[in-house]
């Protein structure tokens, strides 16, 4: 994949997707997160909403997948089902050999809202998962400090959330998602509440973190540029029915730098994606 020409591999339809031979590096092959014919129905009778309609896809270990789509198309619902925070109405989601039926320690989550506890300091917020999991805080305090330093928050360990900017809070939330060293990171539009400049900074930071920790990731966004810059692969969802309609590999090599966004290949790929999305609606 790394040396492929800049030409997205478009994989057909919504059915089970097998990564094309050679499209995925050997270390990534094999499904790690497997989503099979998953539907989600909220309410009943006249209130019935099918938030997700028969979604199927596989994510190999180490892959970063962006889920792209207009608001209300079921992206959050899909992510929350992967996180074990919502039940599937039908179908099956598995992580490794285990069927997802509740929250798991292998998963770190980031929401659109940083969801920091306002009475805890930045450091205490990062250590919150350790506290809840009943692990030794002293053993993780050093790692928490390292993470805060990595995201540029050295010196802010003892500040409370109201003393931090929106971008800084979301950085704390990244550290919190990473503190227990989960294999999987699920992110639901984590940067969409930020201003454009902070958002660009966070994208750079996330690229760096990915390079360093190589997790498996699902990243929900409605920004085409963000999806193409960050992800190895983009799943496009649409509304009515709320289904995964496109599965596109992003061929740019890593490590990626933000300047990638200025290259012609990048711009063309974004334009092509946009056309795909428009043709779906």
């Amino acid at each position: 994949m790394r040396s492929d020409p800049v030409q997205p591999e478009r994989l057909a339809g919504t059915g089970p997707v097998q990564p094309e031979a050679g499209a995925v590096a050997p270390a990534m092959s094999g499904a790690y997160i497997s989503v099979r014919e998953v539907s989600k129905v909220y309410g009943r009778g006249r209130d019935r909403v099918e938030a997700v309609h028969r979604a199927s896809f596989d994510v190999p270990k180490g892959q970063f997948v962006a889920i792209l789509g207009p608001s209300g198309c079921g992206k959050s619902t899909l992510l929350m089902m992967c996180a074990g925070l919502e039940h599937v109405s039908s179908g099956r989601i598995a992580i490794g050999p285990r069927t997802v039926d509740g929250p798991s320690r292998d998963i770190g989550i980031m929401f659109q809202d940083p969801t920091l506890l306002p009475w805890k300091t930045a450091l205490q917020n990062v250590l919150f998962p350790i506290h809840i999991m009943g692990l030794r805080k002293a053993e993780h305090a050093e790692r928490a400090g390292d993470l805060l330093r990595l995201v540029g928050l050295a010196g802010f360990e003892d500040k409370k959330p109201h003393q931090l900017s929106g971008g800084m809070r979301q950085r704390v939330a990244i550290c919190r998602a990473l503190i227990s060293d989960p294999d999987i990171l699920l992110m639901d539009e984590p940067f969409s509440a930020l201003d454009a400049i902070s958002r660009d900074e966070m994208n750079v930071l996330l690229l760096d973190i990915w390079q360093r920790y190589s997790k498996t990731g699902l990243f929900v966004t409605h920004s085409i540029r963000e999806a193409v810059l960050l992800a190895d692969r983009v799943l496009v969802m649409r509304r009515r029915p709320a289904a995964v309609v496109e599965d596109i590999m992003i061929p740019f090599e890593r490590p990626r730098r933000p300047e990638l966004g200025d290259t012609r290949e990048f711009v063309e790929l974004c334009a092509m994606l946009r056309r795909h999305i428009e043709s779906q609606t």
Binding site: P103, P129, H162
Partner: protein, 259 residues
């Protein structure tokens, strides 16, 4: 000192201190002037100066009664605050319990509970227990409802975060719901201590050999209006004292949480 909702202090000292003090003084002046110049009988409404003099004379007696009353108020408030908060926690831990009990508790509030005071004497006798239980019964509701609302309101996103970490219901209560309910607890607590004062005084009217309520009842049966007002002044001081205690605790807790 008043602190506004957004945490800012009032614009000026005049606005914060001078204005209310002046208004209060004006009321007293009008009262003093009105009673003397229209020849209002001191039995009907004694002027402030007469009340002040009487307060000074009666102070040793009043203090004895104050001790009894304040002690019962403190005990009743403490039990009402603790019990109300713990019950709110239990109701939050168990949605079933919440559904089963909350409507009944709310329904109870529609009864003018003060009217039940004589029943408590009938049930528990004329001693301290009947006064305490009645004051608790009268006052626990605001802190319970307010705290329960605060515990329920705790950010659903923070709760979702906890669930994603596999937190137990108890952990969510301890680490998220209780800290975020602190403000609600204190706004209910302010009403609760006020009601506890009313509860104890009302019971003292009915059954007591001591206390400010007893003193007021005795004084008014003798048409000793200035003594009634002197005791009333003492009651205001006690009420204010309890209120300020809650306010101080609130500031300390909120500062520890968010400072």
């Amino acid at each position: 000192m008043t602190i506004r909702a957004d945490g800012s202090r009032p614009a000026s000292v005049v606005e914060a201190v001078a204005l209310p003090v002046l208004t209060g003084l004006a009321v007293f002046a009008l009262w003093q002037f009105g009673t003397s110049s229209f020849g209002v009988s001191e039995v009907l409404l004694p002027p402030p100066t007469a009340i002040a003099a009487r307060f000074r004379d009666l102070l040793p007696t009043l203090l004895v009664h104050t001790g009894a009353t304040a002690g019962e108020i403190a005990l009743a408030s403490g039990v009402a605050l603790g019990g109300g908060a713990i019950l709110a926690g239990l109701l939050t831990l168990s949605p079933g319990l919440y559904g089963a009990l909350m409507p009944t508790i709310v329904l109870f509030q529609i009864i003018p509970k003060i009217a039940l005071a004589p029943l408590f004497v009938f049930w528990l006798g004329i001693g301290s227990p009947s006064r305490l239980v009645f004051a608790i019964f009268l006052s626990f509701f605001p802190v319970l409802v307010s705290t329960a609302a605060g515990l329920q309101l705790a950010g659903s996103e923070a709760v979702r975060l906890c669930r994603s970490l596999g937190a137990t219901r108890w952990q969510i209560l301890r680490d998220v719901r209780i800290p975020s309910a602190a403000e609600h607890f204190f706004s209910g607590a302010k009403v609760t201590v006020t009601l506890a004062v009313i509860g104890v005084i009302a019971s003292e009217f009915i059954s007591a050999k001591q206390g400010l309520g007893y003193f007021i009842l005795l004084a008014s049966s003798r048409a000793d209006t200035s003594a009634v007002f002197a005791a009333l002044t003492m009651l205001c001081i006690i009420g204010l004292g309890f209120y300020l205690c809650v306010l101080a605790a609130e500031r300390a807790v909120l500062r520890a949480l968010y400072g």
